[in-house]
Symmetry: D2
Subunit: 106 residues, 4 copies
Amino acid sequence: MAKIFCLADVCMVPIGTNSASVSDFVALIEAKIRASPLKSTLHSAGTTIEGPWDEVMGLIGEVHEYAHSKGIVRIQTDIRVGTRTDKHQTAQDKVDKVLKKLEEQK
Amino acid sequence: MAKIFCLADVCMVPIGTNSASVSDFVALIEAKIRASPLKSTLHSAGTTIEGPWDEVMGLIGEVHEYAHSKGIVRIQTDIRVGTRTDKHQTAQDKVDKVLKKLEEQK
Amino acid sequence: MAKIFCLADVCMVPIGTNSASVSDFVALIEAKIRASPLKSTLHSAGTTIEGPWDEVMGLIGEVHEYAHSKGIVRIQTDIRVGTRTDKHQTAQDKVDKVLKKLEEQK
Amino acid sequence: MAKIFCLADVCMVPIGTNSASVSDFVALIEAKIRASPLKSTLHSAGTTIEGPWDEVMGLIGEVHEYAHSKGIVRIQTDIRVGTRTDKHQTAQDKVDKVLKKLEEQK
């Protein structure tokens, strides 16, 4: 069991769906992610989920199983996940810090 | 040479930088990306760049070389890149479509 | 909790390590992975781990926590993970099937 | 244009193919990759390609375009790509170094 706080950015792709459109699939899994108590942020290339490792990874696995139960036979997912011990940092903190530095450069 | 339009979501990590903070590095590369004519969108886990394949990938390579020239010895990057032939779709189009479907589900 | 069988290909990068070499880090985490009962395969861009979702993801989280306990302050990991419901397929099965088809093409 | 040497590990997924099996697709693109002069290594979660940035990324783009020409409407690819300025290192060098350190730990 791993309890460390993590930021996990998740991009899920359904395989063998007979359509090049994935928005129905993404809406399906995004609704499932939003139904969890974990904080998440949607962007055009995935969704970032924040929380303790086991809860975040458990949620992603449950979303796989949920999509399978809805008829998706195969799913390929890319997860970028970071952990650190020097400080607590949210997804929004990361963006704010970079935007502030970009502003200072001007 | 590949000219197909692509959406590329890029997460760059500097290695051997002596600090667990990467915001200076991200501000450095983000400024370089924004100086290009290609459309890009920053989020907490990367930056999405849109355009013809060779221009997008060329830009990412130039950003690597630029960061090296600024003293970063090693860089590891994750790129999620998609292409399709059925229609043209921007990063914002993708988000809008999913948000609309989420709204309709309610 | 998610029990579905998965193939997870893991690429871990230490941040702020003061050295561009990551082989000590990779040997550290690879030893930890190999000490688990899960099947794994090392390649030049990561390690593929096979097993039930919670065990595989739990192991990766434990490896993060283990590396932190050894002084690595920040870790960024990319995981490519696939699940399917139509059949059971190991990492070796996937390679064998592609190699066989390549052979047949000749 | 970027000329720096890189190691790029590529995982391509076809979308909307009507079948959960991707081995035909992988054999198709693997044959295309092997027809190039660049060194590559297949593993269960992708293929590692080595060479100058523009040639490697150009090849991956050409493979996308080639697969589209064969009827694949949409492709989602994950690329892990690394560059460094301190030394030249091949994919095999990376594996050998880690295996040697694992051996020394025993």
